[in-house]
């Protein structure tokens, strides 16, 4: 309750500050911005890589720009929403594939590779931040719900937040306007390989055996009729730090002993937030296994801590892209996609019972292999090894 009040007070403070500033402000019309500058720097003409100032505005209002179909955006997002509600993390990857390939933004951005590198890079940033809005906006409500439901391990949360804020700020600050579409697609392909690798591991006999062992142990405990235990004494309750140093913290967690290295959450938070910000994804799919593995924390602590860290990282990243680097995005396309994700997420739970979980994962391993090879070769070799070439 106290936290909620602080949160509300924080927002009210932000609102009052912006109100006061704007009440004193004067209104003017923007003469130039990043996009206008990039358009102005592009040679005029009617061919690819040129801008015809008399043509109808297209993507991001660029004269003669590609016309992104909101209907296509909506339909593709149904598929993304379906994946989110069946396989999970791969939904964010498919949202990225939509922006890069399905809506034709890669081809359009690539046409400015030589004639207008600034516009090429601005379109790359727009794809990145659009992905992040899409995943982040829909994750905002659920993150908030989990934050309310869960609890935070404050020292761990602070360590993660330090790393997360640094990664979320530095990546847009350093890379906005500097990463070409080609390079971005190459890195995106590599990450798809990594996620595909995780999915693949889960389908292997070793991965399955590990899962079965955990499941059997949980079942055995359940069937052992949960031995009646004495409740813990007050001095055993909560987190009791046994020893600590810069390299290792040892603590008992309601009587059970755990250890973790404090530098790990900072580095982990930084790396995860940097990857999420660079690619334009939420990062939740990395934070949850990370938190579980570093200290074996209970689910409801992981939920609150990861949700808050993802949310903070996302806000910092989007703010840096848009406010600091002036990256424009197509809001209506995001709206059409969010509506599609909502429809897809309604279909997902109803259809997933007809497809066994392992086959669903195998399907996405094949898909990850295809997308990974195609994007990596397209990005780093300049041409795709898989069709469409």
């Amino acid at each position: 309750m106290k936290n909620k009040k602080r949160l509300a007070a924080g927002f009210i403070f932000m609102f009052l500050i912006s109100s006061v500033l704007l009440a004193w402000s004067t209104v003017s019309y923007a003469g130039s911005d990043q996009l206008a500058d990039a358009i102005a720097a592009t040679p005029e003409g009617t061919g690819p890589g040129l801008i015809n100032p008399d043509a109808e505005p297209g993507f991001l209002g660029i004269p003669g720009g590609i016309s992104t179909s909101y209907i296509l955006g909506f339909l593709w997002a149904i598929w993304v929403g379906w994946i989110f509600s069946t396989v999970g993390a791969f939904g964010g990857i498919m949202a990225g594939v939509g922006h890069i390939t399905v809506f034709g933004l890669r081809a359009y951005g690539a046409s400015f590779k030589d004639s207008s590198p600034a516009l090429n890079k601005l379109i790359t940033d727009s794809i990145r931040v659009s992905n992040q809005w899409l995943v982040g906006l829909s994750g905002m409500i659920s993150s908030f719900n989990y934050y309310k439901m869960g609890r935070l391990v404050l020292p761990l949360g602070i360590c993660l937040a330090i790393g997360s804020i640094a990664g979320s700020y530095l990546v847009p600050w350093i890379t906005a306007g500097k990463i070409s579409l080609k390079a971005y697609i190459g890195y995106f392909g590599l990450i798809v390989f990594v996620i595909g690798g995780f999915l693949f591991y889960e389908t292997t006999p070793k991965g399955q055996a590990k899962k079965k062992a955990a499941s059997a142990a949980a079942k055995a405990f359940e069937e052992a009729n949960i031995k009646k235990t004495d409740k813990l004494s007050p001095e055993e309750c909560g987190v009791q730090v046994k020893s600590w140093s810069l390299t290792c913290i040892s603590f008992t967690f309601y009587g059970v002993e755990f250890t973790f290295k404090p530098i790990i959450p900072v580095i982990g938070g930084f790396i995860i937030a940097a990857i999420a910000s660079f690619l334009g994804v939420g990062g939740g799919f990395l934070f949850v296994p990370f938190l579980t593995s570093i200290a074996g924390l209970p689910m409801f602590l992981v939920a609150g801590t990861s949700a808050l860290t993802v949310f903070i990282g996302m806000i910092v990243s989007i703010f840096t892209y848009m406010a600091v680097s002036g990256v424009p995005i197509d809001w209506a396309l995001i709206g059409a996609e969010l509506a599609g994700i909502f429809v897809g997420s309604m279909i997902g739970p109803r259809t997933s019972k007809y497809i066994p979980d392992i086959w669903l994962k195998r399907l996405f391993v094949v898909l990850a292999l295809y997308v990974g090879i195609r994007y990596t070769t397209l990005g780093f070799l300049g041409r795709s090894l898989l069709p469409p070439f």
């Binding site: 927002f11 509600s85 659920s142 309750c237 949850v288 406010a323 969010l338 997420s345 109803r350």
Partner: protein, 197 residues
């Protein structure tokens, strides 16, 4: 999309002209737009979660059950059982998390459309700040005010709805309802520790 905005522009901009003072009108109009987004989002969230409520409850129950087992294992100082149950609970949490991420879009999809219109209408307007702010600079756009107003709208409307009987059904709706009487409740540390005295 600009064609659509041309048709609704006169209606939406009238919300910004309710009062004579431009800056007050701007705030009021933005707040009304946020309230409209809030209600449309709440209605669609209500539809989506009730459409799939049985599936969502099943997933959530699996998550809560495994989590509670892990808490009981912790209380019994059984680290092996705790690790196994917690692993299962976290897997279930991952599924619930991503489904709720997707379903959460049903509550927020009107917001980007509102922003698209704001961009169409106010995209070229820059508010010159009296002082230069670090990172933001000396000018700012409509986003600077839209998001604080949106968050405040969600907070205040949430409180307002809980006071109005006919709106309470919408207010109580979440992606995963948490406190149905016939469900297993999520155990916390308090449940496994002794009460002082």
């Amino acid at each position: 999309m600009d064609n659509v905005f041309q048709h609704i522009d006169s209606l939406l901009i009238s919300l910004f002209r309710i009062v004579d003072t431009p800056i007050t009108g701007y705030y009021l109009g933005t707040a009304i737009i946020c309230v409209i987004c809030f209600f449309i989002g709440k209605v669609t969230l209500r539809i989506s979660s009730s459409f799939n409520s049985s599936f969502l409850q099943k997933d959530r129950s699996a998550m809560v059950h495994m989590h509670n087992l892990s808490m009981k294992a912790l209380a019994g100082r059984d680290k092996t059982a705790y690790t196994s149950c917690n692993k299962q609970a976290n897997e279930a949490f991952g599924k619930v998390f991503f489904t709720s991420v997707a379903l959460g879009s049903s509550a927020l999809w009107p917001v980007p459309f509102a922003l698209a219109w704001m961009q169409y209408r106010f995209g070229q307007v820059q508010f010159e700040l009296p002082v230069e702010l670090p990172v933001v600079g000396s000018h700012t756009g409509y986003l600077f005010t839209f998001f604080p107003i949106l968050v405040l709208t969600y907070i205040f409307m949430g409180r307002f709805m809980s006071k109005i009987n006919s709106l309470r059904a919408l207010k109580n709706n979440q992606v995963y309802p948490e406190d149905l009487p016939d469900q297993e409740h999520l155990l916390t540390f308090k449940d496994i520790t002794s009460q002082p005295g």
